[in-house]
């Protein structure tokens, strides 16, 4: 055995050295992950003329919040912010409800045609949104819903992101032990009661994963708002962020970066609230394989 050939001290030194190499490697790798965000925040605090300074600096001597104020006055940013937040919240809540109902039924209620219908639903995961956007645009035009938030809410809450959520919920509910349900049934609880009072409280990890995934999906929508919305006061944040250009078409970089910085906050809040349960949720969902 190797232990006899290498002294304890040498092994310990090798151990420490490997750890140092690991930490150095990780730190170097982390640069492209961290610098853009730091740069975004730092540049949003700079006056415009300092942004393209050469050699580049990260921090400015004269930080200013002027770009943050400008972000709100150049276009209806507060309104656009509100649009994104309320759409994401509504979509997330509707999806959690729809997906946990369907996921529960597909996992635990025996009914005729269940497996066939489940495969029909899974098709929703397979079809890229770009395939359906043209027909959906025509459908929503017919319905008079173009240039409203309805397409963004309905399609996101009920189509692909919701199907992923249904799948996650189904995997979770399948893994739940059946004894609790049997006990509840003997006590006279119906299906709705069992679902809501017994299974849902146990499903918190899966629900957190669903909440994060759905919120992310809605928050990042770009193609759909670009296609459906034309009035600036209806815009969502991803769309609004690309509209910061002065009268000559020049980019207002510090204003744009200030606005971009502000859009991170809600995602951060969602992650902080749900992250503890998130990994656990993925582990239970079968997503981990």
């Amino acid at each position: 055995m190797k232990t006899d050939l290498v002294s304890h001290g040498q092994r310990r030194a090798g151990h420490v050295l490997r750890r140092v190499i690991l930490i150095v490697a990780l730190s170097v790798l982390a640069i492209p992950f961290v610098v853009p965000t730091v740069w975004m925040i730092a540049s949003s605090l700079k006056p415009l003329n300092e942004i393209f300074q050469s050699p580049p600096t990260i921090f400015t001597d004269s930080p200013t919040l002027a770009a943050y104020a400008e972000a709100f006055t150049f276009q209806p940013f507060a309104r656009q912010y509100f649009n994104s937040v309320y759409i994401a919240v509504v979509v997330t809540l509707v999806t959690m409800l729809v997906a946990s109902l369907a996921g529960y039924a597909f996992a635990r209620i025996p009914f005729r045609g269940r497996n066939v219908l489940f495969f029909v639903v899974l098709i929703g995961l397979l079809v890229p949104s770009e395939v359906t956007i043209v027909p959906l645009f025509q459908m929503f035009t017919q319905a008079g819903l173009v240039n409203t938030h309805w397409p963004l809410i309905l399609v996101t809450a009920l189509a692909a992101p919701c199907v992923l959520a249904t799948f996650v919920m189904r995997q979770f509910f399948i893994a739940l032990p059946g004894e609790l349900e049997e006990a509840a049934r003997l006590d006279g609880l119906g299906r709705v009661g069992i679902w809501w009072r017994i299974s849902m409280p146990l499903a918190k990890p899966a629900l957190s994963a669903v909440a994060i995934l759905t919120f992310l999906a809605s928050w990042n929508l770009y193609l759909e708002p670009t296609v459906y919305l034309t009035s600036p006061e209806l815009f969502t944040l991803p769309q609004a962020l690309t509209r910061y250009a002065d009268a000559y078409g020049g980019e207002m970089w510090n204003t744009q970066l200030a606005a971009a910085t502000m859009t991170v906050v809600p995602m951060l809040i969602v992650f902080i609230i749900a992250q503890k349960q998130f990994v656990e949720g993925l582990a239970h969902s079968g997503l981990k394989g």
Binding site: L22, I23, L26, A30, P32, F33, V35, P36, T37, W39, S43, F52, S54, V98, A99, L101, A102, Y104, R108, I109, P110, F111, V120, L125, L126, V127, P128, E130, V131, T132, I133, V134, P135, L136, Q138, V155, L158, A159, V163, I174, R185, L186, G190, R191, W219, N220, Y222, L223, T226, P238, L241, T242, W253, A260, T263, V264, M267, L268, L282, K288
Partner: protein, 319 residues
Amino acid sequence: MTVTIVETREAPAGASRPPAAPSRRRFWSASRRDQLAGYLFITPQLIGVVLFVLVPVGLAVWYSLNDWNIFSGRLEFVGGDNYADLLTDPQLPSVLLATVVFSGGIVVLNIALGLGLAVMLNRRFRGVTFFRTLFFSPVVVSVVAWTLVWGFLLQDNGGINGALSVIGIDGPNWLQSGDTAMIAVIVSQVVRSVGINMVLFLSALQGVPSELHEAARIDGAGSATIFFRITLPLISPTVLLTAIITIVGALQAFAQIAVLTGGGPGLSTTVLVYYVFQQAFEFNNIGYGSTLALMLLTFVMLLTLLQWQLRKKWVFYED
């Protein structure tokens, strides 16, 4: 796509229900009530998929057989003309090449980097949580915000060339040069999304029993051997799943291209999804745009099918 289908355990008929002889005569027996509850529970989801996925796909097929008449605003039936156009479209080869390079680059880098990071961060040392958070943090920054920042850094006089000039390198105009634009788009997107794969790989690695590693080490196996012979086969289902999710996601990347390069320079970053958007919404070619969209759908389905078949060949399942 992401289906690890676990067969539902059917409760043995009648075993779960109280042996209610009288209730059997009532129309709403327990099993009928279950049937009804099942259908009602799935109705909202089913309506969503039918209305917002199946019907639109059907319509897309119909549009692909028609041409959009700008003057009347109506569709005109042209049969297979749009499909014939696929063969003669001089731009399509470049678009398909860009799509393959983009998706392939994203998948390979994403899996390699995600797995590498997960292995490095699947140990106990001080600061491990800190590093995990760092690598995950771009996920929190929305796609468009992240892409804007990279667009800013990648400009001719932007931060990356500024940093390079400090060490005496004159960097290219990343987004305006046909050679570098695609690389720039791929790298910025891999960095943004690899955190999610890292988390998936981490949770898979934590499921690998450590006794196996110890046994192999006692038998004299080195770290590389242990990784390729033991760890990798054990987490192969996750690798497969991650590959599917990543490649399907890459095939659908729109915001990244639209914000960073607008498909340029030339057609060097015009991937299929972006081309569909241009044809349908910029050039009003609803028919041809739908034909291209169906081609995209075919690719996604073939890839999913292929990976599903491969799964039987090389994916290792513990049980």
